[in-house]
Symmetry: C2
Subunit: 401 residues, 2 copies
Amino acid sequence: MTSLATAQRSLADPSVRHPLWPPLTRGCPVTSTEEVAYPLDIDYAYDEVPADLFARPAAHGLERWAPLLPPLAAPGLGEGNTPLVELADGLWIKDESRNPTWSHKDRLNRVAVSAAVASGARGIVVSSSGNHGAAAAAYAARAGLPCAVFTSPDAPPAVASHLRAYGATVLTVPRASVRPLMLRIVDELGFQSVSSVTDTAHTGHPFGPEGYKTLAYEIALDLGRAPAAVHLPTGYGELLFGVAKGFRELARLGVTDSVPRVYATEPAAAGALTEALRTGRPVARVPVGPSIAYAIDCEISGYRGVLAVRETGGAARTVTDEQMAAAQAELAAQGLWFEASSAAGLAGFRAHGPHEADGPVVCVATSSGYKDIGTARHAYAPMDPDWQSIKTALTESEPPK
Amino acid sequence: MTSLATAQRSLADPSVRHPLWPPLTRGCPVTSTEEVAYPLDIDYAYDEVPADLFARPAAHGLERWAPLLPPLAAPGLGEGNTPLVELADGLWIKDESRNPTWSHKDRLNRVAVSAAVASGARGIVVSSSGNHGAAAAAYAARAGLPCAVFTSPDAPPAVASHLRAYGATVLTVPRASVRPLMLRIVDELGFQSVSSVTDTAHTGHPFGPEGYKTLAYEIALDLGRAPAAVHLPTGYGELLFGVAKGFRELARLGVTDSVPRVYATEPAAAGALTEALRTGRPVARVPVGPSIAYAIDCEISGYRGVLAVRETGGAARTVTDEQMAAAQAELAAQGLWFEASSAAGLAGFRAHGPHEADGPVVCVATSSGYKDIGTARHAYAPMDPDWQSIKTALTESEPPK
């Protein structure tokens, strides 16, 4: 199956079209303003989508959905096809920790690294606190391209091991140096960035979020319908946008009868999308306080998030660290260990609803507990083999809830 | 679909049959000797297997294969249905890190915890350096049972975080106290052990290895045939046995034309199965030296391993730490990050072959790099933003192989 992608379109004005190549990673050159570098969207020849595309079962590897993705020029790692686990009656967790690098970011990177390969990039560059960097490094390695990962020296030690594992050049330079160095790597070395290179707002790679559409396709196939609502941890809003777009495509193609409301959950320590929607602006910038949700505590939002919420009738809300920790604990007590930011979707649902059921509710959990800020901070201490205390611990403690 | 399991049979003499319940976790009471507590195997009403069982696609959750498994009384986590990733022409990696707790052990624990639930156990007990304990804790939590995990104080710090995550009681008592305390927990508190409770050899839970059969089912479905050879990291040989049994069942049921040779790879620092096969004994005990393969450096073997190798025409071989590290690096350079022991299957294939191709070769990679002994030992150091050194690193280094 070949890609039906036809063009890049401005998200500010879909009538402004650009050729599919090269990927416009700095935003739309026509519609962007001084305030916002508007991201590009990908258009497809929707009337040529094979009739049986959604009749066949899900499968590993985004090539399963090739007609509705940009060309997949980079080899894959069997990404996607993650399970939907029922947490309670009608409440489902989409377990994205079951991707090749144990986060949802593999879906974006399969597509974005493919764009880099197809457009002749000499390497991949990415700025990330963890998941995005690891995924970019894995797909770059798989494609045989060098990869530069700008990351924080504060990354959890297990994540530091992960980022190093694929042979990428890990750069822990001061924050103020990141953007200028990224641009030099792009401009002077011919690398392609799979994270945002613009200053004024989050723009991001135009092709990358297309990978997230496959989450929607899989959920609809598993449920046999569109859910009523989807709750997502939200940083820059790329995941939010991709999932919303995927569900809108399904309705457009007649695969489902409806589009779920898409709810963004941001950490209360940041909340730029919530602020943008509150003030009616395309993007917002907010002060960022301390948070356990280091994967999504973003200073600026992206216009993609505004569109995803608006076009599905959803909302953006914030949750406190305590609410995320409670959702994380609720999931772990059911055998599902995610990092705190990954539990934000469930935290948002628990805190803000809506709780009236007019169909299944899906919370997307994005990444493994191995990425958590608190992981690997404490080794074990040896214990005395005292029977009475062991017996007490095993018989008088509360059972897991 | 309901289970077609009919009985427990002694692996020493399959004509010795016992009822399916209760699970005989201490080995066959009839055929065991002072030297070996022979494990039990599960028999099925094979002539009642639905004709379309292997015609339908794979799916998450072992219930997909319910007729050929013991009853799945414990709720699942969408385990299994992991991808087969092509590493080179005809050489495939079965990526078991893509299970709910990121290792193959989820397959065993879904089945073994189900046996505990169905037989009225008051809790789960397990002795494990990592993967097995995390999986047992997750499935126990999911089933609402308390769980005791005996583990080594030397576990990597990220694995320590993982073991704690599901609310299990983690016990880091001295090694000599483990077995007596496990037996007290079983006998006095009514818990069921999902790891071996016998002294004389590895016996293990009779139902657990059945979960590993599903690996064979998935591989055969993905390839459209049985592979020529399967290479597996081997500790106590439960995975080895389950995979071999699954392929033998497929041939018996006419789903495939042949049974692959099953090759066990053990760390050279241990190698009990290799020793048992060399000396023609049902089990062997060996001294254990230092090794990076902490998940499989076992002092004793189990009779299951001998049977798996013998009945498929395979072999057991050892690999050095250097060979495992090289295989681990080969996989990481392709975007696949596993712990060192998980790379033992590929290491065994690279070191010992056979390399002549009479069909696809599958190496099972058991667990995520997050479980590696070296993970999370080193955080980042901040770097200077020096362009020349960054440029050199990105343009003059060897590309990933």
